[in-house]
């Protein structure tokens, strides 16, 4: 087991432990701030990490990702707004609990469940990743493309209410990704003669635009509306404590959520939000008290919170072993690896095995850190956030997004990209486009196209190469089956819907 010496190394480094602790706090605060996501925070903090040691930089951002996924639950419970998309499911039961004066109980349930889910995900990652990496050495472009294909199918099938708008959002993401020089032949696409565009659209400015500036625009629009929040101190002692008897019925939901989250995390592209909703739905289906779900069931907090954090670890698997970014956070971490000269992909475990296991060790310690801080201090974090008035907070975020977008690559064109994507992101949200699908498609499109065309160059029989190679065929088959199942459910839902109306 490579993890134990790594843990010992990390524990012996007080500076690193300090960075993990700081990351846990930063992630929690950002996650709990309405409108700011962990991915946004990571994109903005990226320039800071250029000047850190690689392990520091990676551990810092990785733990922010974990802690931010958890921190979203604070906003969901207290402010009735998902701090991150991943906490939208938590809101269903979290906010009713808060209104009943059980905010503290709900937050402690969320903390314990997040820690359980996160630990399950990380354990699976640590046990399984070496094995996947050994396998990955044998995989080439055809197999990698098949995995991308499966990911796209799954994204398409969970896209949300409006299928057409969701697909259009994903398509837009792919189109934006094709701007610039074609990765294979080097010809220009959608550059319109502009030198800056031939460089392509950067992920970091795009993300800062969509997730940060777009959010500032949204806050500008809605700032006159009063936000209903539950102040953490509004309730008595009883609502603050969590007993074992209360948590015991939540445990099976947390464990199931952990498994669902870990399973979903391995597949690139899905992410925490989907895991949380699936776990919530599955939990409600199997619950002994389904009628209470949605009106303040602790189980309804445990199920999604465990699942959304369980995604964190396993989503690193495709990233580290194949170089496929499984999530937007993963895509940024990929950039961090490259900046520090570490080649992610099948050879990572040959060149930088120690670093990887130390990163995992930092992840485990990060879970402990946010678990402890969250269990005892989530209410304080919430008070802190309420103390900063939005009229000061959002202008500062507005100004920071400019300097952060510039600093990532030292490019003023990136700032322009950030402004345009911010405005586009705001419009997309306004017309119910799926912003998450847009960004993840942007992230996945480049690799998918590249491997597709590499595979064709390698093939003697054109497209048949995807069937000739068994692993590639298996993943393609998986994608096709998933698509078939989804179409079947859609058709069934529509029939059921029309029958219901009739």
């Amino acid at each position: 087991m490579d993890i134990f010496p790594a843990l010992a190394d990390v524990l012996a480094d007080p500076m690193l432990l300090g960075a993990i602790l700081l990351a846990a706090v930063v992630g929690m605060v950002v996650g709990a701030t309405p409108g700011l996501t962990a991915a946004a925070a990571i994109a903005m903090l990226l320039p800071v990490t250029y000047y850190m040691d690689p392990l520091f930089a990676l551990a810092f951002l990785y733990v922010i990702g974990k802690s931010g996924r958890y921190g979203g639950s604070i906003a969901a419970i207290l402010f009735n707004t998902p701090g991150t998309a991943a906490s939208a499911a938590t809101q269903l039961d979290g906010y009713p609990l808060a209104r009943q004066g059980k905010a503290g109980k709900a937050m402690k349930t969320a903390t314990v469940s997040s820690v359980i889910g996160d630990f399950m995900g990380d354990t699976l990652l640590i046990v399984g990743v070496g094995w996947i990496a050994a396998l990955a050495l044998k995989l080439g472009p055809p197999e990698t493309f098949a995995i991308y294909f499966a990911a796209f199918v799954v994204i398409g099938s969970v896209i949300g209410k409006s299928v057409v708008k969701g697909l259009a959002s994903a398509g837009l993401g792919v189109l934006v990704a094709t701007v610039g020089l074609d990765p294979i032949s080097g010809v220009e696409r959608y550059t319109f003669g502009s030198f800056d565009l031939s460089n392509g659209i950067g992920l970091v400015p795009l993300m800062i635009g969509v997730f940060v500036l777009g959010e500032v625009f949204a806050q500008m629009e809605t700032r006159h509306r009063a936000v209903e929040t539950v102040r953490p101190q509004d309730h008595g002692r009883d609502g603050d404590t969590l007993t074992w008897a209360e948590y015991k019925p939540c445990l099976p939901h947390a464990l199931r959520g952990g498994l669902i989250g870990a399973g979903i995390g391995v597949l690139p592209g899905l992410g925490s939000a989907i895991a949380a909703f699936i776990s919530y739905g599955e939990g409600k289906r199997r619950a002994r008290n389904p009628e209470q779900w949605g009106h303040g069931a602790l189980e309804g907090v445990a199920a999604p919170e465990s699942a959304n954090n369980a995604v964190s670890g396993p989503s690193m698997a495709p990233l580290l072993t194949l170089g496929i970014p499984g999530s937007t956070i993963g895509a940024i971490l990929l950039g961090v690896f490259l900046i520090h000269g570490i080649q992610v992909g099948p050879t990572l475990f040959l060149t930088s095995k120690e670093l990887v296991y130390r990163l995992f060790a930092c992840g485990l310690l990060g879970i402990v850190a946010y678990g402890l801080i969250g269990y005892f201090g989530a209410a304080q974090v919430a008070k802190l956030i309420l103390r900063v008035p939005p009229r000061v907070l959002y202008p500062l975020i507005f100004l920071t997004s400019f300097v952060a977008a510039y600093s990532a690559r030292g490019s003023l064109f990136d700032v322009l990209v950030m402004v345009v994507s911010g405005f586009a992101g705001w419009i997309m949200r306004k017309v119910d486009f799926n912003v998450a699908a847009f960004v993840i498609s942007f992230v996945l499109a480049k690799g998918a196209e590249e491997t597709f065309r590499q595979a064709l160059l390698m093939s003697d029989h054109g497209l048949l190469i995807f069937i000739e190679r068994p692993i590639a065929a298996a993943f393609l088959g998986l994608g096709v089956v998933a698509m078939g199942l989804r179409v079947r459910t859609l058709v069934r839902d529509r029939r059921a819907g029309s029958a219901g109306h009739a």
């Binding site: 250029y50 259009a168 500008m220 100004l399």
Partner: protein, 154 residues
């Protein structure tokens, strides 16, 4: 009405993308065309846009009227213009001066009314961001193409 407009906008976007994909030069023999993926997606967008338009027209049966922009929407447009101006300002004058202008405007736009606070932001915001990013983190600052106060420093 809103749905129809959205559909038309997506159709137009897709149409533009088809036009852009057509400009991609053809591939040498035996290779896939670089415009294949953009073209496929662009055609998909056109179809999605037409679908949205038709669905919107079917669902809509009342009077056709353009949706009226709300106060919030106008404010967002104002902020977007400020963002573009701020970017152009940095291109021309470097980071410090445009930030000294943009900081109080943004704060005021979000409802800060304290004169002292706004006045302080003129000095503190450029200074703090400059120190953190361009001094502490060592990012190479964007020098203004027309004039930059950093040029006056020794």
């Amino acid at each position: 009405m809103k749905a129809v407009l959205e559909g038309l906008a997506v159709t137009a976007l897709g149409g533009g993308a088809v036009w852009g994909a057509l400009a991609v030069p053809s591939a040498p023999a035996g290779e896939t065309w670089a415009g294949l993926v953009p073209m496929t997606v662009a055609v998909g967008l056109v179809l999605a846009g037409l679908w949205m338009t038709l669905a919107g027209m079917r669902a809509h049966a009342g009077v056709w009227s353009l949706p009226r922009p709300t106060r919030g929407t106008l404010e967002v447009l104002g902020l977007a213009v400020l963002a573009l101006a701020y970017h152009q300002g940095i291109v021309w004058f470097g980071y410090l001066l445009p930030t000294a202008v943009a900081a109080p405007i943004t704060l005021a736009a979000f409802g800060v009314r304290s004169r002292l606070g706004l006045a302080l932001s003129v000095v503190l915001c450029p200074l703090a961001f400059h120190l953190v990013f361009f001094q502490l983190l060592g990012v190479f600052p964007p020098y203004g193409s027309l004039f930059d106060p950093l040029d006056l420093l020794p």
